[in-house]
């Protein structure tokens, strides 16, 4: 467990630096009120009213996120397999080939249905 403590120390240093800078900058900077300055920036035109919660955005991003999860979990399965590959031998290779093929059936399906297209 002791090997993990230095990570927290470094994280604490980073956090201390970031929080200190943000607080200091809010004290050192000038404060001049201007109604237009507090509006959202949209190239000078009146900002579009934003619905609560940020509104809707293209469904493509959800799709990308879901595909990412599929592949990320595949990668997480690959890592321990790769680390102990020599111990598993040919059996491990065949098993992993079957698993990857299964995932790539889904990949081919998504590709064919245009899930990877961006316009």
């Amino acid at each position: 467990m002791n090997a993990y403590a230095p990570i927290l120390v470094l994280g604490g240093l980073g956090a201390g630096f970031a929080i200190f800078s943000v607080i200091t900058a809010s004290l050192t900077g000038p404060k001049r009120y201007n109604r237009a300055k507090l509006e959202a920036y949209e190239c000078g035109i009146e900002p579009t009213p934003q619905p609560a919660g940020g509104g809707r955005f293209p469904i493509k991003y959800y799709l990308t996120a879901m595909l990412f999860i599929v592949f990320d979990i595949e990668i997480v399965f690959l890592y321990p397999w790769a680390v102990s590959f020599d111990a598993l031998g040919l059996f491990g290779l065949v098993e992993m080939l079957l698993f990857v093929l299964t995932v790539f059936v889904a990949y081919a399906y998504v590709w064919r249905r245009g899930g990877l297209e961006w316009d």
Partner: protein, 456 residues
């Protein structure tokens, strides 16, 4: 192999607390100084590439430029826009900055076997190491994405929201390719700990053993850090500044800092996993045994990181920005299949070599099978193309038969390929016009160019 890894990792986590703090401060300072230097260096190099001088006002040779920028940003007004979700808006830059630094905890600056002594205590030249070191680096990179998506969302504005989404989609897409390229390294090193990976590169760096993995990683690391030519989140022409449009003062600086620290981190990872880590490059080790001992590894490591950062700058000075659809296509349709097939190929070769199979004949079989599949796909492609072309031709012929209506639906529309515009009604040439004499006072038949009204 696995037991030795556990043994060697026992060298870590034994430092007294003050040494942990000293080493953590060193890691932080190393990241910070490399960032401060690389910002100036980037501006200088890009300036030279564009035949300019670059920053030369602050300090000798402009070296204090990034420090001056930081102080300037400190003294700027800290605007919190009206539509922002205040708490998340302030937290986002902090969330982006912290994990960027944390990744440095497991980067080896030198050998792991208590080579150096700090104030009389011998210690490995690395803050700490974990059995899952590289996984930890990937995790910090993923947490850094939260900062960006939260910044985009909490600004309560259109451009940052779109920029943040784009950034997120880009980073997670390239993280897959990045993760796949790591798997091949683990296959050879039998370990995910960074010190073990460097130790296993004693004979040959993995860039030579796994060139495809290295190339995939290099492309993915540029995509992951949002750098040119993949700097789509801050494509000024379409998204103003991307996710950080509404940020000012030090909060903006935090995002820039996080971006540059991430650049240093991915360079350090590239060095550790593929370029031999802290090991001296080849010709030096042949005549100098001490090159990999004492404090020297720090020098080789720094030089390799700087070369990698120069590569980033070189890309920015040379390549134009990619289009978003091309970028996603590269990530999802090229990098992922290529690295997957490469990984399986590496694994197959290694498994067969471990079992002492007759290598040449198997390679022949596999190569033949791949060739057959390629040929089949080519044939299928040709036939599919032919069918599509015929359908296209029929559609074109159909469209040609209909007369083109330039005012379809009440709006003027341009002709599609294959359609021709109807002739524009024009004035006829002077010679063809039939002129009518104007009956003026003198009645001599002078003309004023008015035409007969037969075509009006």
């Amino acid at each position: 192999m696995i037991t030795t890894a556990a043994e060697n990792l026992s060298l870590f986590g034994r430092d007294p607390w003050w040494l942990i703090v000293v080493k953590a401060v060193f890691c932080f300072a190393f990241a910070m100084l490399t960032v401060l230097f690389s910002i100036v260096w980037e501006r200088k190099v890009v300036a030279w590439m564009q035949l300019r001088i670059g920053p030369n006002r602050h300090g000798p040779w402009g070296m204090l430029q990034s420090l001056a920028d930081g102080v300037k940003l400190m003294l700027k007004e800290d605007v919190v826009v009206k539509g922002a979700d205040k708490v998340v808006y302030i937290l986002a830059p902090i969330v982006a900055a912290i994990p960027a630094f944390m990744a440095f905890a497991v980067i080896p600056f030198g050998p792991a076997d208590n080579e150096i002594s700090v104030f009389g205590t011998r210690t490995p030249m690395q803050l700490t190491d974990l059995p899952v070191g590289v996984l930890f680096i990937l995790a910090t990179a993923s947490v850094g994405i939260y900062g960006i998506v939260l910044a985009g969302w909490s600004s309560g504005s259109t451009y940052p929201l779109l920029g943040g989404l784009r950034s997120t989609a880009q980073m997670i897409s390239y993280e897959i390719a990045m993760g796949l390229s790591f798997a091949a390294v683990f296959l050879y090193s039998h370990s995910m700990s960074t010190s073990q990976i460097v130790a296993s590169q004693q004979d040959k760096w993995y860039v030579l053993l796994l060139p495809v993995s290295f190339i995939v990683y290099v492309v993915a690391m540029v995509g992951e850090t949002n750098r040119a030519p993949f700097d789509l989140p801050e494509a000024e022409g379409e998204l103003v500044g991307g996710f950080n449009t509404e940020y000012s003062s030090i909060k903006f600086a935090m995002f820039m800092l996080a971006e540059y620290v991430n650049m240093v981190t991915v360079s350090a990872v590239a060095t550790t996993l593929f370029l031999g880590g802290w090991r001296a490059p080849w010709p030096i080790t042949t005549f100098w045994d001490g090159a990999n001992h004492g404090w020297w590894p720090l020098l080789w490591f720094t030089v390799k990181i700087q070369l990698s950062l120069f590569f980033f700058i070189w890309l920015r000075g040379t390549l134009p920005r990619m289009r978003y659809d091309q970028f996603m296509k590269l990530g999802w349709k090229v990098l992922i299949p290529v690295s997957m097939v490469w990984l399986m190929l590496v694994a197959a070769v290694r498994a067969l070599r471990n079992d002492n199979y007759d290598f040449g004949r198997i390679a022949l079989y596999v190569g033949g099978a791949v060739l057959v599949v390629l040929l089949l796909s080519l044939v299928v492609d040709v036939f599919r193309d032919r069918g599509r072309k015929r359908a296209d031709a029929e559609a074109d012929a159909e469209a040609d038969r209909k007369p083109f209506d330039p005012m379809a639906g009440g709006y003027p529309v341009p002709p599609l390929p294959g359609q021709t515009l109807p002739p524009v009604p024009r004035r006829r040439p002077r010679g063809e016009r039939q002129l009518v004499p104007v009956n003026g006072e003198n009645g001599t038949g002078t003309t004023n160019g008015e035409e007969t009204g037969d075509d009006h």
